[in-house]
Amino acid sequence: MKTYEVQNIKDTRSGFGAGLHELGKSNPNVVALCADLIGSLKMDAFQKDFPERFFQVGIAEANMIGVAAGLTIGGKIPFTGTFANFSTGRVYDQIRQSVAYSNKNVKICASHAGLTLGEDGATHQILEDIGLMKMLPNMTVINPCDYNQTKAATIAIANHVGPVYLRFGRPAVANFTDANSFQIGKALMINEGTDVSIFATGHLVWKAIEAGHILAANGISAEIINIHTIKPLDEKAVMDSVRKTRCVVTAEEHQMNGGLGDSICQLLARNFPTPVEMVAVNDSFGESGTPDELMKKYHLDTPDVVDAVMRVLKRK
């Protein structure tokens, strides 16, 4: 099992803030909008250095999406920032009509996704956003796993023409990926293995790595792949791995319905029926608690990935 050095412990949203600030310097067409959460989204630096290209929209997310769609007409590349819940569920029809159907070059950047938002509770812990966004034609969906990858993804989506949903989170987590390794739509090999394929996204990538070490100590060789781009799915990377290992675990901080596991199951059912176990929230809302407590209670923790591997190996 390959060992990754933890460069530092950082929140993914700070990777977004850093990437956005860099874009401010390098691309004069990049503009940013925020719905009263500048500090939470780490948009302060962009706002300070590029005030003429920053728009405080207030607590009015529907308008923010529409204004962003309009800003594209004339060549701007708008990045909207708010919590994932208010970036998707609250404004679904605005995104559907004014952004996705109209195919506008809007980057919907969403923080505090999933259970790790923590103490604020289920009203804010969206676990359905990946599903909502991946169902929309024209939409690219990206869920990076650490600071470096979030920063790289933020910069990359400015050069991708078309609507993008970029999802990241609140807590400080292990920062370990190579800053140059990110490419939209290209799955990232974390560890080559032979017994099982673990496809993980977002915060669950690090949990999968921790699980990989436990499995290795027990003589199980796990192939771990970081699926940061959920749509378009890197089907070749998934199929190449599954043809080798012939069993799968998916891991994500999202509902089982509509998430990464759902996309992979569709691919496998059509092409290469394979036993799959899914580490995800099973048709439930979250609740208040610390991020770590919630990941344990809702079975999204390292031992849950290990358990899922043990279950799927028996079905092989």
């Binding site: 503009v31 529907a62 308008n63 204004v67 309009g70 004339g74 701007k76």
Partner: protein, 282 residues
Amino acid sequence: MANIQELTQLASQIRRDTLRMVHGCKSGHPGGSLGCADFLTALYFEVMHHDRSFKMDGVGEDVFFLSNGHISPVFYSVLARSGYFPVDELKTFRKLNTRLQGHPTTAEHLPGVRIASGSLGQGLSVAAGAALTKKLNNDDKIVYALMGDGEIEEGQNWEALMFAAHHKIDNLIVTIDSNGQQIDGSTNDVAGIDGKNIEAKVRAFGWEILNMNGNDLQSIVDTMAKAKSMTGKGKPIFIIMKTEMGFPIDFMVGSHKWHGISPSDAELESALQQLPSTLVDY
């Protein structure tokens, strides 16, 4: 100097197109379309500086957004008669494989359409964003938008009204089609709104307000010129445009019955007799 007689003739042909399009596919929204025919005719043939070769980005030209997308037949007729696409294509309205979808969309790349609309309440935000981009680009042209009065019940409009005034988006001229009707009855019965209280509400949000008669081309041309002269002064501009649904067809005018139904063969014949053909029918 506007040639009102010429605009009148154009508007008559555009109304003929509109009714024939709706009749041709037995669906669509003739009432609001007829009511707004004079406004859109004046906008595209007199008021706006626009490039018929159509570039999505609309740099260096005035741009228009239709928020009440259900009046697509009149919008399409105005675009075709302006030269954005062949007039003959109007006969494909709402039919399979058409670029003239039931509600306007960019997905089929119809020249002249810059945003999908139909799900109500979104056009004002989009127009505000496009106006901001013009400011960022130092483009001194104007962004126009049209919305329905029933549509103002959608909350997003009030977010956009607040936003545009706060950000001093003064290169934006929004017109509301105040015909007082919506699907379930009068706007007053449904939601307690009418032209007068819309004016008070929008003024309170910090916009400049103008009023005009949307079925009088002289009133439209004069008011739009005045609106244009008020741009660049720190406030967005909102025009309450009084219209009659179905204008001027005698059996349609003023009734919300004609919001979303097609005329029969006999009704079409009767309506066309009231609208002289001034160009060649498609």
